[in-house]
């Protein structure tokens, strides 16, 4: 957590570069935050940077086929579809806000492979940093899974494109965007189809961060590591609730038909 009061000033330099970075990254990035670098989802690890975007951002949250959204109003911060070496990839970043605060985010990543290609097992189904993970060995062609974890929305270094999209969107919309968001990721497979969806929640709304010496604070990524969660019953309550939600929600995700 931090007591810093210079957030917008600190962000402003990054914000200037964000639109350009977003434009570049949206043209080439292939995955969502939380997937370790180098684990390409398509057979043979086809680099998405080989591909060119084929669609501009769209506006309708309903454009997420097979992906149910929790109740409320959702706005599309980014939507795009691009051709990759062995098929196509679609991405969406959806945001729900409440009175100037981003309260929820949904990330959708869907890959359609050509008829000749199959997925390989996805290593990101297993990670010791996950609070909870379930691997459904009998599902899909390459192992369905879902897990509960906290997603770091940091911008330092070489941030993930989703982080940049969210930061840019928050600044443009003048919204509070947390620095970390716990949530549930589902990865579903069918023959030649992969659907990955992240549902993320604002932890500052779920559980107020304890006040610091200079007043109110916000949660930081380090506050939601497994170790930090294990030391705090209230955080455990939040993560357990996410886990229960995931158990219920997984049945709602429909595997898209191969197109």
């Amino acid at each position: 957590m931090t007591d810093s009061r210079h957030g917008l000033a600190a962000l402003s330099g990054i914000a200037l570069a964000v639109p350009a970075l977003v434009a570049l990254l949206l043209a080439g990035c292939a995955d969502a935050p939380g997937t370790a670098p180098g684990r390409a989802p398509v057979a043979g690890g086809a680099p998405a940077s080989d591909a060119a975007p084929v669609a501009a951002p769209a506006a309708a949250p309903a454009a997420a086929p097979g992906v149910p959204l929790p109740p409320g109003t959702w706005r599309t911060a980014y939507s795009g579809k691009q051709e990759i070496v062995r098929g196509t990839a679609e991405r969406m970043v959806l945001v729900s806000e409440s009175r100037g605060v981003v309260d929820r985010v949904v990330l959708v990543y869907r890959v359609h492979l050509g008829l000749r290609y199959e997925f390989q097992p996805r290593e990101s189904c297993r990670d010791p940093s996950y609070y909870h993970q379930v691997i459904n060995e009998s599902g899909g062609g390459a192992g369905d899974c879902w897990h509960v974890r906290a997603v770091n929305l940091g911008l330092a270094g070489e941030p993930h494109w989703v982080n940049l999209v969210l930061a840019f969107d928050a600044e443009r919309q003048d919204l509070f965007l947390p620095a970390v968001m716990p949530g549930v990721r589902f990865i579903r497979y069918a023959e030649g189809e992969m659907l990955q969806v992240d549902y993320l929640w604002n932890p500052d709304l779920l559980l107020p961060a304890p006040a610091g010496a200079k007043g109110a604070r916000v949660w930081e990524p380090d506050d939601w590591t497994n170790k930090a969660v294990a030391a705090d019953p209230a955080k455990q309550a939040v993560m357990r609730t996410l886990q229960r939600w995931g158990e219920d929600w997984q049945a709602r995700l429909a595997l898209p038909p191969r197109s």
Partner: protein, 248 residues
């Protein structure tokens, strides 16, 4: 609809009328039932709630009720909460609201009525409300815990004089009515966890207006930290959970 039900009724004094709606359910998570006398019903979003109704939540369940004076009452898993008294004064204010909790956890955020109008009963304490936002739990052993987020409450234990509990502190009244010394809220991990579970259940699993799970004060307070969050993001590398761009 609630207003319609009440129109034409003289409500400045308690009326034995179970059909008198005093608010409605705005969020329901999983199994929540209402019991008036012997009539039991599952509660759903937008259902009215009635004077003297017992609200029972099941495991991993929660409810959020909004009364006529805009007071919100959220109940957590395995809770039994009853609306004992509700004296409506009209114009969106109540003269008296008394809620009792026999088991479980509730979060209470006062509405437009004077603070003196509100009271919470537990098996071993009476809670007078001076402030706006607090959580009360009653555990299986009968102990009462109170955690104040905003404002202040006065807790009168079964044994002893009233104790003021300001924001940020938590107080436990043991099953025998003996109070402990108020301590910082985070020190009471059990109550913090119970409070977090209520909020999280409503916000994460709510089937109604999920954004409405958050109290206005929560959102306002968090929104005020916008710059701080931006600063944290700007200075935090995303490498912990997947920096860079897999496949780029």
């Amino acid at each position: 609809m609630v207003g319609v039900l009440l129109s034409g009724l003289c409500l400045t004094a308690p009326v034995r009328a179970q059909s008198v709606a005093v608010g409605q359910a705005t969020m329901i998570v999983r199994s929540v039932q209402g019991l008036v006398d012997t009539a039991r019903r599952p509660l759903a979003v937008d259902d009215p709630v009635f004077w003297q109704e017992l609200i029972e939540t099941g495991a991993e369940s929660a409810s959020k009720l909004v009364f006529l004076d805009a007071t919100t009452l959220s109940t957590g898993p395995d809770s039994r909460v009853r609306i004992d008294e509700f004296v409506y004064a009209g114009s969106g204010e109540s003269r008296r609201i008394v809620v009792s909790i026999g088991r479980g956890v509730l979060r209470f955020v006062t509405g437009r009525s004077p603070s003196s109008a509100y009271s919470i009963r537990t098996p071993n304490a009476m809670i007078g409300v001076r402030g706006t936002d607090f959580t009360v739990s009653v555990d299986d052993g009968g102990a009462t815990r109170v955690l104040v987020r905003n404002g202040e409450v006065g807790v009168t234990p079964g044994s002893g004089a009233p104790i003021l509990v300001p924001a940020g502190l938590a107080l436990t009244v043991l099953a025998d009515g003996m109070p402990e010394t108020p301590e910082p809220g985070p020190a009471d991990g059990e109550l913090q966890a119970a409070a977090a579970e209520v909020t999280a259940l409503l916000a994460i699993a709510g089937e109604g207006d999920t954004a409405g799970a958050f109290e206005d004060e929560d959102v306002t307070a968090v929104g005020g930290l916008r710059g701080q969050a931006a600063s944290v993001r700007a200075g935090t590398a995303a490498s912990q959970v997947g920096a860079g761009c897999g496949g780029c």
